[in-house]
Symmetry: C2
Subunit: 167 residues, 2 copies
Amino acid sequence: MDTVDTRVADPIELARRNWVEAGWGDAADGMAFVTSLVRAQQLLLGRIEELLRPHGLTFARFEVLRLLAFSRQGVLPVGKVGERLQVHPASVTNAVQRLEDAGLVVRSANPADGRSVLAAITPAGRRLVEACTELLNREVFGPLPIDPADRDAATAALRSLRRGLGD
Amino acid sequence: MDTVDTRVADPIELARRNWVEAGWGDAADGMAFVTSLVRAQQLLLGRIEELLRPHGLTFARFEVLRLLAFSRQGVLPVGKVGERLQVHPASVTNAVQRLEDAGLVVRSANPADGRSVLAAITPAGRRLVEACTELLNREVFGPLPIDPADRDAATAALRSLRRGLGD
DNA sequence: CGAGAATACTTTGATGTCAAACTAATGTCC
DNA sequence: GGACATTAGTTTGACATCAAAGTATTCTCG
């Protein structure tokens, strides 16, 4: 029997079918792609947050710490942080504030520009971010359940997509 | 000249280099992939929300309306909604509450199960979701700036990734 | 040099998400 | 049949994000 197996179960495939049946065939694959992206991101971020939570970090704060740890002096204007991580200034303020409360970062006025605020990672911040980076590498980034060739092809495709979206 | 062009500018490529230089080469491509995913999702969702905002919808609420409109009677238990959209029950409660406040949905007790709550799309809800779907198809899902073959390959890769992550 | 524009953040308010606790109704099992 | 587990939602609290408004500082020009 070559019947079409109807045990779809995948909500995204179901949605795609609905799109086609509604006469939106020309947008169905785009919708399926976007939905897949959203869902995969959700799963990965969920896993990451779950791993970081016991360490008192969120992914947003981890990224800030990670960026500071990579920077030459462990210090950056918070504006630069937002720029590099591509997040809203208000989000940076929020993250840095909480990191400072946790003693992982220290803020200070930028002597070179009175409008600017510098964020500096503390020794405790460095220790924590190193441990968390290794944790994420070991548990998430390294063993991603995807074929490496597919992964890299997707990364490339996403890069051009990002460009096309004005990134 | 076959010099390696250093005008990277892409924050993700910068991060990948940092990863490799730190000795995490085995996780660098996974990190780059995850980061690309997160960023692309962010850009797409941002564009979608921007388009829906004038209509008083968010993507979360749009998805609920869309699902109800596709359902046989335009009615579903809110639990089913969360299951199909794969969102937390609390998020469904929140979305349905706001949709109801906007007159796009009506809630009622499920006669078949006293614990369950039914959400039904209203005529106004149908009109709005049709208009918004066509808007998103025309502005986002249809003209996605990505090669169709790459897009579909990525969708397939993401699907297996989702499975591998327990979706 | 002084007014107005631009820049760098912070604050506030609205939204969304998830975890955990709580309520109510249904099921299961001696 | 009644105690206990399970299921369906809601509520509450902690966080994150973005838009918009507010504050302070620096830049630009006539």
